[in-house]
């Protein structure tokens, strides 16, 4: 669900034009950035089911801290608070919501591997609706999020005039093209 995350972040620019695009893109990916750091210390891990032929959605994920419900909420709240120091309360709220949207989208596609409490404390049921079992459907959802995000980003620039309009068109075109390229490469497992 990489492209879906980024697509949603680009689309959020329509309702929060004050926030720089990079902050939204980073926010949507923050849980995975922290996941990567934790994986360096062996606390979380990720592996394709078939390492010889990695396929879209065919992955085994152990992210019991960053991708637990409570963990994601805590990271979103903390990062949202930090963002509010720079972009005021509204900006911080949007950043926090975008960070948590990562968990919501992952909930849709992950097989049941998302714990409620960090470290899967109490061995509560793992969450995940498992849309990756239906790769065509999850790919369609991702593509919709990517194209929708690019469209709403473009719409957010409609009011700009003159030179700014040309720059806005370039930014929209590049964002849309990169989202589409990311979708294609991700689905191909590259």
């Amino acid at each position: 669900m990489i492209t879906g995350h980024f697509g949603l972040a680009a689309g959020v620019k329509k309702i929060a034009p004050r926030l720089p695009l990079w902050s939204l893109l980073l926010a949507t990916f923050l849980l995975d950035v922290i996941f990567t750091v934790l994986s360096m210390f062996g606390l979380e891990s990720f592996a394709p089911m078939n390492p010889a032929h990695p396929t879209y959605g065919e992955v085994i994920i152990n992210a019991y801290y960053t991708h637990s419900l409570v963990g994601a909420l805590l990271i979103s709240a903390l990062a949202g608070w930090l963002a509010s120091l720079r972009w005021k309360k509204e900006g911080g709220t949007v950043i926090g919501a975008v960070i948590f949207s990562h968990w919501i989208l992952d909930l849709l596609v992950h097989r049941p591997d998302l714990p409620i409490l960090p470290g899967n404390l109490g061995n509560l049921p793992l969450l995940g609706f498992g849309l990756w079992e239906y790769p065509v459907l999850s790919a369609i959802i991702e593509l919709t999020l990517a194209l929708g995000g690019a469209y709403f980003y473009y719409r957010s620039t409609m009011e700009l005039k003159g030179v700014q309009r040309t720059r806005a068109l370039a930014a929209s075109a590049v964002t849309g093209a990169l989202l589409l390229a990311l979708f294609i490469v991700n689905v191909m497992g590259l």
């Binding site: 004050r18 695009l21 990916f29 995975d32 990720f46 700014q164």
Partner: protein, 56 residues
Amino acid sequence: MIRWIGWMCLNILQRMFNKGGYGMYSMLIMLILVVVAGWLDSRLDWKEENNKEKLS
């Protein structure tokens, strides 16, 4: 300190490429997306939009 930060960054990138779960090309496009699209967006003047937000 700088050497340590550099080592950490390289290690994280290597992890992302090799074990982070994303393919190398996906990672590259993600980095380009954040940097290039973010830079193009930062060149836009959103003051007009900001004023609208404040008025509403």
